[in-house]
């Protein structure tokens, strides 16, 4: 049973007042919410996702003074989570493991090399701007397809097609 914004906000304010029980309940309630958030946006194994969840919980706890009780709580918490997610991509030097191309690549040599990393940012420069923007939004900025569609002012299927075509082009460039 997922906690509501009101319940989470009440717990958060309790924690801000020094109530450790409320703070514990808050963090416990947030963990599955964060997990779902990252699972939709980050293509990583369960351990990588859990690392992100833990990083976010630490940040939410240690930086809680930056939450303004007059404003929505989940917006604040998601802002922290999104920052940690972008930082996750950045720390991996804006690269994407090659197994993210797995949906269009089935060549054995690439599967063997799937531990290698490619500088996606450089590769994106070769794409038409719509495809590059769609890939950048979903793979690097960590937006969902819906958010990327809203940002670009196009439909969700348009985003998905752009990503698919862009990845196909990149795969060809990388030399499949």
């Amino acid at each position: 049973m997922r906690a509501t914004e009101g319940e989470l906000q009440t717990l958060m304010i309790g924690g801000l007042n020094g109530d450790a029980t409320a703070q514990r309940a808050l963090l416990r309630a947030l963990a599955p919410v964060l997990r779902a958030f990252f699972e939709r946006r980050v293509h990583s194994d369960a351990e990588g996702i859990e690392d992100l969840v833990q990083d976010s919980l630490i940040a939410i706890h240690t930086r809680r003074a930056t939450y303004d009780p007059a404003r929505p709580f989940t917006a604040w918490a998601y802002a922290v989570a999104r920052y940690k997610m972008v930082d996750h991509f950045r720390r991996r030097k804006q690269t994407v493991p090659l197994d993210d191309f797995a949906e269009i690549l089935s060549v054995a040599s690439f599967e063997a090399a799937s531990g290698a990393q490619i500088d996606v940012a450089r590769l994106l420069e070769a794409l038409p701007s719509k495809q590059a923007a769609a890939i950048r939004a979903t793979r690097i900025d960590g937006l969902s397809v819906a958010e990327a569609a809203e940002r670009a002012g196009i439909s969700e299927s348009d985003v998905k097609i752009s990503i698919h075509r862009g990845l196909k082009t990149l795969a060809a460039r990388v030399g499949v």
């Binding site: 801000l16 020094g18 919980l57 630490i58 003074a65 930056t66």
Partner: protein, 215 residues
Amino acid sequence: MRPTTDMLIDTLVLDVPPVRAGAVERRVLAGLAIGAVLVCIVIFATLGVRPDLAQAVHRPTIWMKWGYTASLGAIALYALLRLARPERRGLGMLWTFVVPVVLLGVVAAVDMARTPPAAMPHLWFGHSWRHCSMLVLALSLPIFGGFLWAIRALAPTRLRLAGAMAGLSAGGFAATLYGFACQETSALFVLTWYSLGIVAPMLIGSIIGPRVLRW
């Protein structure tokens, strides 16, 4: 619930100090205050307060200078307080920077219209143009450092902009304190050389922000 996350949460909630309202503001203002005190000490010890300060405050010029620099510092400070929190909120208020610049520009234009060509270079360069901007930049550093110290404990998500606003605010307030020592009176001089010294730390902040403010 994964067990390691469970344990992490139990560890985190061992320390749940109460957070008073206005914690962000207090932290940032503390950074400003510490830096400003250092700047005052440096000004006293090196440049010295201008000897005619008691008379100068009865004339409008020093208030014009203080008004210009302090309003830049204050607007940037307001932006910085917003940037210290993680949510992406609108920063449309940044357009208000235009107001002090335009006002000072009008005064400078009126000055220039009333100044004979032979006296124009002095109106623009004054006595101290060579070191004014550098001094403002140098004096901004302690306040800039104070802001960075404060922000690093908070949750900025737009690091370049946060660094820039920290630098701009530090420059504005440092220039205000510098106004206690500097005896230039021309609005054109202030608009040029003070602004240069105020913009320099802003550029530095925009460059080092993404490196220094990460959390």
